[in-house]
């Protein structure tokens, strides 16, 4: 079968200061990862990984990044990801690190994982809330976003909430 096989690496950008979130954009992340590969593997590594390397999806609010590379070179990419130390964009430098969440062969598998992961995050977020008012506000904000597939709720809620489909 003549088909190019890719690997999609799902990572999360973890930064300490909240203002670092503004630095996260796809070109900045791409350059940072390429830099790290160049430092670890040199010209050969950089050339191999750039064959089909792109940042497919980026979410600045949660810090989720989806990278794509060829299946043969995904080891190079994965082992160079821990070496990323900072993101630079528009003159701003933000120290952070990337933590791999999932490596998948298709975007759909990564999306499934991301949905499960976000559900678990929502659970911990709701558990850490101290008063009922914050919980209500979180639930409102989750309910008010509308996707075509609908967004299911976490199992932590007491009352029955219908999923919102729009």
């Amino acid at each position: 079968m003549v088909r190019f096989k890719n690997r999609y690496v799902l990572c999360e950008v973890v930064a300490e200061e909240p203002r670092g979130r503004h630095c996260i954009e796809d070109r900045a992340v791409g350059t940072a990862v390429r830099d790290a590969i160049a430092r670890a593997y040199g010209d050969y590594g950089l050339a191999c990984c750039s064959v089909s390397f792109t940042v497919k999806y980026l979410n600045a609010y949660t810090g989720t990044v989806l990278l794509r590379c060829r299946k043969d070179f995904h080891r190079l990419l994965c082992s160079a990801l821990p070496l990323v130390r900072q993101l630079e964009s528009r003159g701003l430098r933000c120290p952070c690190f990337l933590s791999t969440l999932h490596v998948g062969g298709t975007i759909r598998s990564c999306q499934k994982f991301l949905i499960q992961h976000n559900r678990r995050q929502l659970l911990t977020l709701l558990q850490n809330c101290t008063n009922e008012e914050e919980r209500q506000r979180i639930r409102q904000s989750v309910l008010s976003c509308s996707l075509t597939e609908g967004q299911s709720q976490s199992g932590d809620e007491e009352e029955e909430d219908d999923t919102e489909t729009d």
Binding site: E16, R39, S79, L81, P82, S99, T100
Partner: protein, 267 residues
């Protein structure tokens, strides 16, 4: 599957920094963390203090993401030895050393490496990653260490920070791999700030850089760490053997243990 553990978190005097480090580790998915005290004998003689119990330092331990258990915090002592007389401290029955969960030794010369692998009662042998090794590894002491259940520790934070350190780390790690074939390796951070920590899958991928195979690299972060912790526990608790022999004759004689070896279990 054994949970992931990070066995080297330097314990500084800053409590808030440590707290943020522990929270970052719990968020990344580590189930156990060991707070490390480094004792260097080159300076003047220091007293080995009793380990501070983690429950006193941190009233509430963060919950590991992905499970519902709390982060397990252990205490660890690292001795930097450059002289054989420093090892006497380990052989003495000083009670303060016994209270640490994990004991590690950092040998600086070949003779000390041999002694550490063959006779010393430790759990971990640290491998220097910040400078070129002054000695080559030889097969006999390494094989003896593997038989005794001692693990070799590699740090990865210098590799993240600096390019020359990275070269030394990789070259030292690969020379160790060639002798021990990837068995009994533990990879840990020596992270002083939360930004220097990396998640367990990332650390396993770094192990690929060091020459480990994929399964060995994953084991280096999970199974081997758990084995080290268990090794430390057995070293703490087991001191002797109780040997009872069932006598088929009268019942009264079974009351007293035969005077072979009595168990000295320490609290």
């Amino acid at each position: 599957m054994a949970g992931f553990a990070d066995l080297n978190v330097p314990q500084g005097p800053d409590k808030k920094g440590l707290q943020s480090l522990l929270e970052a580790a719990a968020r990344l998915g580590y189930s156990a963390v060991a707070l490390n005290h480094v004792i260097d004998f080159k300076e003047k003689k220091q007293e080995i203090a009793k380990p501070v119990s983690p429950s006193e330092l941190f009233p509430s331990l963060p919950i590991v993401q992905g499970t519902s258990k709390q982060l397990k915090v252990l205490t660890r002592l690292t001795l930097v030895v450059s002289d054989p007389s420093h090892c006497n401290l380990l052989r003495s029955t000083s009670s303060n050393i016994r209270l640490y969960d994990i004991i590690a030794v950092f040998p600086k010369t070949e003779k000390l490496f041999h002694i550490a692998c063959t006779t010393l009662d430790v759990d971990l042998v640290c491998i220097n990653v910040t400078e070129k090794l002054p000695f080559y590894f030889r097969r006999p002491p390494v094989n003896m260490a593997i038989d005794r259940g001692i693990y070799f520790e590699l740090l990865y934070t210098p590799a993240i920070k600096d390019s020359t350190m990275r070269r030394y780390t990789i070259s030292n790690a690969i020379s160790l791999m060639q002798i021990c074939k990837g068995k009994n390796i533990v990879i840990s951070s020596a992270a002083e700030r939360p930004l220097e920590l990396r998640g367990p899958y990332d650390v396993a991928n770094l192990g690929l850089l060091f020459g480990l195979s994929e399964s060995e690299a994953k084991a280096a972060v999970s199974t081997n760490c758990r084995a080290t912790i268990l090794h430390g526990e057995t070293r703490k608790s087991a001191c002797g053997v109780v040997y009872t022999v069932k006598k088929l004759r009268k019942v009264e004689e079974e009351e007293t243990l035969p005077a072979c070896k009595k168990a000295k279990t320490q609290a």
